[in-house]
């Protein structure tokens, strides 16, 4: 028997109010692979990522993690996954450090080994270019800096599967190249990434997955 892929999506479909948003999504992901989901606005890129994170339940089809159905390995799958969505889950009244500390704490201690160490947190924030902003409340930060707070999770996580929804939004050029470096490093360590972006990546071996635009238009 051949080795089962890290993630396999089998004929996944999603309907909402009798409106078929996604249909027959097939995708397979091995360690070290990156998939860029492409499609027009409203074609269901975010919906697909939310299906993968189990925030949404598919109406048909299934997701296999290391060859197992999610009903059998839900805990392992969720522990091994990191999702950064459209809304970065950053509280504007908390400081950058408090936000990041809370985010890694709620990861349940499985995704990150050294979560309580404030040097690690400060280091992660410095790595995303927020050096000196650790004690600044996030309402005083710009949109791009907000995003960077959320992206700092990537510095601390031990998760293998990353789902990133528009990670480059509001990020400057320097930030983009930094993020690509981090992705490259993650992939070389056997991680896997699914991301949505309208930007062309400079990473090597990016597979693209195009969503069928008609799927969202059937009434």
């Amino acid at each position: 028997m051949s080795q089962s892929p890290l993630l396999k999506v089998d004929r996944l479909a999603f309907e909402r109010d009798d409106n078929c948003l996604l249909d027959k999504i097939n995708l397979s992901l091995n360690p070290g692979e990156i998939v860029q989901v492409e499609g027009a606005n409203g074609s269901g890129k975010t919906t697909l990522l939310r299906l993968l994170t189990t925030a949404l339940q598919p109406s048909a089809g299934e997701i296999l993690y290391k060859g197992q159905a999610l009903t059998e390995c839900r805990y392992q799958y969720l522990s091994d996954m990191l999702y950064i969505g459209h809304q970065p889950a950053v509280k504007s009244t908390l400081t950058a450090e408090e936000n990041l500390r809370w985010m890694v704490n709620t990861d349940g201690g499985v995704k990150c080994a050294d979560k309580t160490n404030s040097y690690v947190i400060a280091g992660a924030l410095a790595a995303v270019g927020l050096n000196g902003y650790t004690d600044v409340p996030c309402y005083a930060l710009s949109a791009g800096q907000h995003r960077r707070v959320a992206l700092a999770r990537l510095m601390m996580t031990a998760a293998t599967l990353w789902y990133l929804d528009e990670p480059f939004t509001a990020i400057d050029k320097q930030g983009v190249s930094f993020l690509e470096d981090r992705l490259r490093q993650h992939l070389s360590q056997g991680g896997a990434v699914v991301l949505t972006s309208h930007q062309d990546l400079t990473l090597e071996n990016v597979r693209t997955y195009s969503l069928n635009p008609q799927a969202g238009q059937t009434a």
Binding site: T54, G85, K91, T106, V110
Partner: protein, 227 residues
């Protein structure tokens, strides 16, 4: 596994307390409402202590209920908007524990201050001396029930743009037993009857809410977050 559920509880509790501390003005509004309305009552009804004492127990409870109802709507609203709720739903932890942390934080920032401020209101409403201890006990338990059951309503209406009225309609029937036995506890004590039985029922309601409400909130959030 046990450790991870535990850390989920304390992480959310600490965060919500910190958030409430950062927005003290907003967090204090139920308490201010509670105190303001009760200063008005002797002015508009009657300053006569004997007549006020008759209605004091009921008034305190109605105000506590309204004050909680004001604040419970916001329990999940901002987490829903900024994506934190989504992160919670896909975390590997058992969902009820972090939710219980959030609800505990809500009670610590609304129910507990109301309970601690209630002797002041008792004074303004000429509550007889024998009613103070039962009032404190019953309010402490009752407001905890309010936070717990209110969270179920808040979870069900979180994705609605204007869920305020619907939330009130949903949770009001669930608040009825609490308010009935809460006022009974105080009025029994004023009448010189044994006030422990109604308080015991409040305790039972609280125990049932602690056990069941976090599960109901988790289920409700799974349903509503689909949209």
């Amino acid at each position: 596994m046990a450790q991870s559920t535990n850390s989920g509880y304390s992480a959310w509790l600490k965060r919500d307390l910190l958030l409430a501390y950062r927005r003290r003005g907003e967090a204090a509004s139920p308490l201010i409402f509670f105190v303001m309305v009760s200063t008005l009552i002797p002015l508009v009804l009657t300053p006569d202590p004997a007549r006020l004492a008759m209605v004091a127990a009921g008034l305190i409870w109605i105000m506590a209920l309204l004050a909680t109802l004001l604040s419970v709507e916001a329990l999940f609203a901002s987490d829903y908007q900024d994506g934190s709720l989504e992160q919670l739903l896909i975390s590997p932890q058992l969902l009820p524990m972090p939710l219980l942390g959030k609800i505990t934080a809500h009670w610590l920032t609304t129910g507990l201050p109301l309970t601690l401020a209630s002797p002041l209101l008792g004074l303004m409403l000429s509550l007889p001396l024998s009613g103070y201890l039962p009032m404190l006990w019953s309010l402490a338990l009752g407001t905890a029930c309010f936070s717990l059951t209110g969270a179920v309503g808040a979870a069900l209406t979180v994705s609605l743009r204007k869920g305020g009225l619907l939330l009130s309609l949903l949770v009001m029937p669930l608040y009825m037993p609490v308010i009935i036995f809460g006022t009974a506890t105080i009025s029994y004590a004023i009448d010189g009857v044994n006030w422990l039985p109604p308080l015991a029922i409040l305790g039972a309601l609280f125990a049932a809410s602690v056990a069941l409400c976090p599960l109901a909130v988790a289920g409700a959030l799974r349903i509503t977050s689909v949209h």
